[in-house]
Symmetry: C2
Subunit: 330 residues, 2 copies
């Protein structure tokens, strides 16, 4: 088991390095530097590079090769970073992965434009790997972009709304996170030469792993080990975010418990010192368990959809990817 | 002559109405409203819809039909409006065509996201009119997007630089304005089924008309009739913009004239009451005449490139379009 794990990890690490190289070369030496240097700054923050990996794995599972889709893999990461830069402005965030956000490091105009240009280069790179399938690939990529904008808009809308239902929350993360993972798998599958049913199965995998990933993110905010997490535990509560756990708690709670939760909405967040009380409440209401169940629901759906993938070794990659995401601590 | 004019004008008006309708339907009924209502707001500001017209005319000149490229025509206008929304934020502009800019009417986050979503819908609409030619069309569109970001970055960079050469200025407007017009003609020509030489000729037309258009814009700022212009005459001087006329003046001026121009750079603009003095200086230095010559240079290049277009009626459309832009007063 340990041997198998390390095979997956070493493959991940090897491919991640190739993706880093491709991302670096996508912006290096481009002019004007006043545009591309800031754009390159956000790419240097690292990250899991999960989305490019979904493109690679899907292309291989559909019968293609990693080597034919590195530009497309870079494209989805460029698109992802475009969303990070603009989201950080909208969230007024000062730090990302321990570094200043782009608009803090430079200024607002530079950040808006660097974001736009990351998106433009994303399309440029995606097109490099397209041939007769360009319309299909670009349509899927564009659908992902449309949805991520809609998801972000819903997310911002929820910030000021008093009532948000679990269904609305699920629609929001579907658009903001899952649609993007679905798109990564879809374009990988198309570029890899997959048939209709393979493309559909991989798209399903992507969508469900995206849902699981986002709810896991909400769960980690309250249950993670602060040192390994690298962020303040309970940050979502402090910011007054309506996470899966919070909305589930709101649905279950009654009396004083409900009042305590409503306080977070009215005051648009709580103080850091109050986090342990809320964690205790979450535990009492069982929403930590509820969210674990929900993560398992989507992970299982993802795993079920890859049964249709031909090769055992590919199914194993996808299954290990689910494992690594569920067991992650940041 | 008057009869001919009105034929062109009525064609323009007729097609503009169809484009308006297409643009309206591109965003109507889309959800979430919190995203698409602000996005629709900027489209309602009107405008010349010149870029869609270039797509239509080019498609027809290349052997295609207007009816096959209305989605692509809408796409270039959506892309243009994406740039307007983000540029207005960067320029801290409060008004556009007499109405509040998007970030003033709503807020910063809404404007950034509405801009992003205009771009996403632009790609969606462009893809509707693509078939086997998707890679070529999308590559050209994306090249236009890459360049408009680069052009805007140069424009912002020039604001804080003391020295900008005429060549640098020409590169900037090439990227910020001309590349977009070139792209409109290119995708129209490809979608219309044009051959290599037709695509090239139409692309040249677009690029040169774009250059002429931008220098004309700079000229109108100082020479327009304020009532017809609809903007404050000399606004570029007040804002301290390094226009074609200003940079040409800087190159020619000596002694006190030069000092007066340098004052604009150091103080980042002049007061409205000083505009007449600067206009007199421009006249004395001959830069009004110089810019007219430059506009003629690019207009002539545009007209020369359309000689290769087969049908006389199409050549006439393009030639009348040049006329209408050169003789415009706003």
């Amino acid at each position: 088991m340990t041997g198998e794990k390390s095979e997956f990890v070493s493959l991940y690490e090897r491919e991640r390095k190739k993706i880093e190289k491709k991302l670096h070369s996508a912006l290096a030496d481009r002019k004007p530097f006043s545009l591309y240097k800031p754009a390159a700054y956000i790419l240097q923050s690292g990250g899991k590079r999960l989305r490019p990996l979904l493109v690679l794995f899907s292309a291989k599972a559909a019968g293609g090769k990693f080597s034919a889709v590195y530009n497309a893999a870079a494209a989805v990461e460029l698109l992802h970073n475009f969303t990070l830069v603009h989201d950080d402005i909208m969230d007024n965030a000062g730090k990302r992965r321990g570094r200043d956000t782009l608009h803090k490091k430079y200024d607002l105009s530079t950040a808006i434009l660097a974001g736009d240009s990351l998106l433009s280069v994303a399309y440029e790179y995606l097109l490099k790997d397209c041939n007769g399938n360009a319309k299909q690939v670009l349509s899927s990529f564009t659908k992902g972009l449309v949805e991520v904008c809609e998801g972000q808009s819903l997310d911002k809308e929820f910030e000021t709304r008093k009532n948000v239902s679990i269904d609305e929350y699920l629609l929001m993360i579907n658009k903001k996170t899952a649609a993007m993972a679905e798109m990564c798998c879809t374009i990988g599958a198309i570029l890899g030469g997959g048939g209709k049913s393979e493309i559909k199965a991989l798209a399903e995998y992507g969508k469900n792993i995206g849902m699981a990933f986002q709810i896991q993110d909400d769960l980690l905010d309250i249950s993670a080990n602060e040192k390994k997490f690298g962020k303040v535990v309970g940050g979502d509560l402090v910011e007054g975010k309506k996470t899966f756990l919070f909305l589930k708690a709101m649905k279950i709670a009654r009396g004083n418990d409900k009042k305590m939760l409503q306080k977070l909405i009215v005051q648009k967040g709580i103080s850091k010192s109050e986090v342990p009380q809320y964690k205790t409440l979450y535990e009492k209401l069982g929403v930590i368990e509820e969210s674990k169940k929900e993560i398992k629901f989507y992970s299982d759906k993802a795993l079920s959809s890859i049964k249709k993938i031909k090769k055992k070794e590919d199914r194993k990659l996808f299954s290990e990817l689910v494992d690594s995401l569920i067991k992650r601590n940041k």
